[in-house]
Symmetry: D2
C-alpha cells in the first residue's frame, strides 16, 4: 500500500480534524501519523497527516476535504515524485559536501540536480559526484546580469528547492520574489538574530560569547529575517579566535542545513507568517 | 470555557481519529491541541486531545467514545482536580528543593502534600515550605516494617503520584506492586542504561566518560529498568573527580526530575510496554 | 596543607610561566592545577594556579612574583575568607531560590548575607532561609533616591559580589561605577546579543526562534553589553507561547546564573576587555 | 618562527612546571599555550605546551627536560611531519565520507593515505577523492588470514593512526597488540557504556531511551572498553524506530569521530590508564 502526505492549512474552526479524518476514513485511507497545530495569536490551523491506502482518486479526495474547510484553505497531497534540489555555493565546501555525501549514500530523500557557483572552487567537488556545475563569476558579469544568469540556470533544472549552501552574495528583492516563499532555503552562519549580516564569527569573537550557532531559514526580502526552520549551537570559550570559531561553526552549519532540508523534504515544515511550524 | 484533557489508548485500527474527533465535534467540544502516535511493532494507538467546551456530560462523552473504539480501549478525561504529590527522600536536598521551590513560586501544577524521609535530614527544609515531613529511619525498624510504615504514610495522604527524589533505598516488589504502574516516579543519577545500580558517579569516573546524565523513569519491579520519561546530560572532562561529577550531576538530576514531573502532570506521558510515549 | 589560588594578569612576555612557577617552587608551594591563557589580539597573559603549601609568607611571595613580571602586573593570592553575596531581586523567585537552595545544602561556596528587593514579594522566601531581606520599593522613593538606598544597603553588608538575580530595574551609570568592574553579576533572560533589552521571551516568540537561552555577565555601563561569563540554551518549538517560553527559560536562567556564580567563586574568571577568560 | 608541541608525562612531583618551563625559557622557546593536569588517584602528571622559537637543538632540549624529571618520564616534541591516516571501513559511508570531505577541503590536519575495506562498497567513494582503496572481503579469506592481509595493508602505508570508521568486524587480540596503544581509534555507535556490543540502535529502541549517542575511543583488547576520547548525544523520542534512530545516530557518529581525530592530530589527547586526558 502506498503512503502519501496530506497537508492542510486554513483558518482555525471547530471540527476541522473531525472533518478531515472523516473524509479520509470514508475513502479508506488510514492515518498512520498525524500532527496538528492551531496558533493562538492569529487562529491558523496546520495539519500534516501521513496516509496509507489507495490514492487513485486523490484529486477527488482533495476537493472533498477543501469543500468542508473554511474559505481559502490550502490542501495538498504529495504526488510521490522524487524532489529535485539545486544548490548555490561560493567557496566553502562543507555544506555542499554534506549534502552530496548524504545524497550519495542514500540518506537524502532527494536528487541534487545542479550546483551553481559564483566561483569555480567547488566545480571539482560537484563533478566528483556527477552533479553538473555551472559557474557565473561575480567578476565576469555586471551584478544584475549575473543574477539573471543564476536565475536562468536555476529555472532550467526545475528544482523543487533551491539551497543556498553558503552562497556569499546578497540576493536582490527581484531574485527573491521570482520564487515562491518556501522554495529558497539559506544557512546563516550565526545563531540568528544574534550577529546578523557579514562576518558573524568575527562578531562572536569580539563579543566574547560562550556559544555559537547556525540558523537555516527560508529566504525573504528581509535579509536574515526569514522564517527559521532549524537552529543549533555549540559551546566555545576564550581560546577560540575567529578562524577556529569558523571551523567549529562549519560543523554546526552543515548539520543544521542538513536537518532543515530533511524536514522540508519530509513535508514537515509549514510557513506561518514570519515563523515556521515544524512537525 | 473550560479545558480538559482526553486520553485515549487502544489497539490500532483505521478511523480512530475520525471517530474520536467526530464524537467531540458532536458534543461541541473544540480540539485545541491533539497529539497521536501509533506504534509499528505492536499496533497500539495513543492520543492526547486538549478539548475546550462544556464538560457537564463528560461521562456520557467518554462512554460514547469508548463504544466506538476497539475492545479494551482506555478513555479518560481529567476531572480538573489539582494533583497531589508525595515525595520520598533520604539526605540529598537538591531534587526535593527544586520541587518545593517550583511549587512555592507557582511553577508546579500540583501540591506537595507530604515529604517522607528515611533520615531526618530534610525535615527542616520541608517544614520551611510548610509541607508535613514524616520520618521512618532505616535504623529504627526492621526493613520490611519500615517499608510498611512508608506505604501507610503514603496512602494516608492519597497522592496522585509518589516522587522518589533521591530516595536511596531499594524498594521491595511488594511495595512496588502495591501501586499501579505509573504512580511511582524515580530519578536515577545516571544516563540509563549506563551505570545502573549504586555509585554511578564513581562508575562514570572510573570509566572516564566525557558525558554524564540523569534519567527519570516510572518504577517497576526491575530496578532501573522502568519506562524512561526524560533524560538529559552534561559534558564533563578529566578534571572531574567523583565528588565534582556528583555535584554537576545534581543539577541535571533536579532538572530532569522536574521536567518529567511536569510532563506527567500535563498528562503528556503514556506508558507503552517498557517504554513511554511523551507528547 | 593549605590550598590557595594565585591569579596573575599582565602584558604577555616570554618566560612568564617559568618565572612564576619558579618562585612558587622556591617557596615550596606545589602547583596542583594551573591554567594559562595568552591573547593574540592584545598580548595579555592570564594565569590561575592552585597552590598547596605553607602560606605564612604570602605577602612576600606576591611581591617577589610581581617584581619578576612586566610593569603593571596584577598578582593576587586569595586569603581564604568565605565569600559574601548580596542578592538583588524583584518578583521572580527562581534565581534567588536556586542560590538559596544551593547555599542551604552546602553546594554554594559562599554565604548569602542579604537579599534586597524593589518589591516585597521575595521577603518570605529569603526569611525562610534566615537571610535578611530589605525592601526599597520603586513606588516609595524617587528613582535616584531608591538607588542610593539600595547602594547603602549593599555597602552595609560588605559583599564580595552583588548578584542581580532578575532585578528588573535599569541601574544608573552612577550606581554601576560605584562598584569595581567584576563585582556586579547579572543574569539576562536571553541568549545575548540576541534579544537585548526588555521582553526577550516575547521577542523570541515573535521571531520564531527554535532555541532560547540565558546569559550571565558582569555589569558595565553599557546595558546587556558586559563581559559574558556563561551561557546556555534549550530547544523550543512552535508550540511555545511567550509564557511557556518564559517558564522554560527560567530553568536555564537559574542554572546559568548558578554556574557563573560558582565559577566566579572559584576564582576561575578573568575580565579581558569586554570579554572573559573562564578556566 | 616555528611552532611545536611539547608533551610531558611522568609521576607527579613538586616543581615540574617550573623545571620544564625554565628549560624552555633558557632555550628561548616561548610558551604560547600550556595545559597541565595532575591526577589525584594515581599521581600522574600530564602537560602539553605549545612552544614557539628555534627548534634546531630539539634533541638536546628534550634530553635536558627529561633529565630534570622523575625516572620514567615521557617527553616528546612533535617533528612537524604531516600525519598519515589509514581508514578501515565496511559498508557505511558517513564516517569515511566526513573524513574525506574535511581532508579535501583542508579542514583536516592530516592526509588520508589509504582506505581498507572488508567489502567493496566504499571503493568508489575513496577513489573519487583519489585515495587508494584495498579490499579484503570476509568471504574471500579465512578469518585469521583476512586479518593478516589487513595488517599488512596497514603497515605498508606507515600510518600514524588507524581509524576504524565503522569497521564492522571484531579485531583479534593479536591484531590489536600488533599496534601501540593510542594508534587505533574506533567510533562506537552508542553512548558507551550503554548498549555495548552489536545493534545498539535496536537496543536503544527496545529500551525506549530519550537520548542516543556515539563514542570515539582508543582500541584495546577489551571490546568497547578502551579509553574514551569524545562523546556526544542527540535527543530522540518515541517516534523513532531502529532505522530512524540509526540515521540520526550516523550524524552524531561522524561528528564525534571527526572531533576525536582532530584532537588526536592536535596532540591534545593523553592516555591515562583506561581513561584519557583531553586538553
Amino acid at each position: 500500500m502506498e503512503k502519501r502526505i496530506l497537508l492542510t492549512e486554513c483558518a482555525d474552526a471547530t471540527g476541522l480534524i473531525a472533518k478531515i479524518t472523516d473524509t479520509c476514513f470514508n475513502h479508506r485511507l488510514n492515518v498512520i501519523r498525524q500532527d496538528q497545530f492551531a496558533s493562538h495569536e492569529d487562529a491558523k490551523f496546520f495539519m500534516r497527516s501521513v496516509l496509507e491506502g489507495d490514492f487513485s482518486e486523490s484529486e477527488k479526495i482533495i476537493a472533498e476535504i477543501r469543500s468542508r474547510l473554511p474559505e481559502g484553505a490550502r490542501v495538498s497531497l504529495d504526488d510521490g515524485h522524487r524532489r529535485r534540489l539545486c544548490v548555490l555555493v561560493t567557496r566553502e565546501a562543507h555544506c555542499l559536501g554534506e549534502l552530496l555525501m548524504k545524497a550519495y549514500s542514500g540518506a537524502l530523500n532527494a536528487d541534487i540536480v545542479k550546483v551553481i557557483g559564483n566561483h569555480e572552487d567547488l566545480r571539482a567537488l560537484s563533478e566528483k559526484f556527477n552533479v553538473p556545475f555551472e559557474c557565473y563569476e561575480n567578476a565576469d558579469y555586471p551584478r544584475e546580469e549575473q543574477e539573471v544568469k543564476v536565475m536562468e540556470a536555476i529555472d532550467a533544472c526545475s528544482p523543487d528547492y533551491v539551497i543556498l549552501a553558503k552562497y556569499m552574495r546578497i540576493l536582490s528583492p527581484k531574485f527573491i520574489r521570482h520564487y515562491p516563499l518556501g522554495k529558497l532555503i539559506n544557512i546563516h552562519h550565526s545563531f540568528l538574530p544574534a550577529f546578523m549580516g557579514a562576518k558573524p564569527y568575527y562578531q562572536a569573537f569580539t563579543r566574547g560569547v560562550k556559544i555559537i550557532g547556525a540558523t537555516a531559514h527560508f529566504v525573504t526580502d528581509n535579509l536574515d529575517e526569514g522564517p527559521i526552520i532549524e537552529q543549533d549551537v555549540i559551546k566555545v570559550n576564550h581560546r577560540y579566535d575567529p578562524d577556529t570559531l569558523a571551523k567549529a561553526g562549519h560543523d554546526v552549519e552543515q548539520m543544521v542545513l542538513l536537518r532543515a532540508v530533511n524536514k522540508v523534504l519530509d513535508d514537515k515544515v509549514f510557513i506561518h507568517g514570519n515563523k515556521t511550524v515544524v512537525f
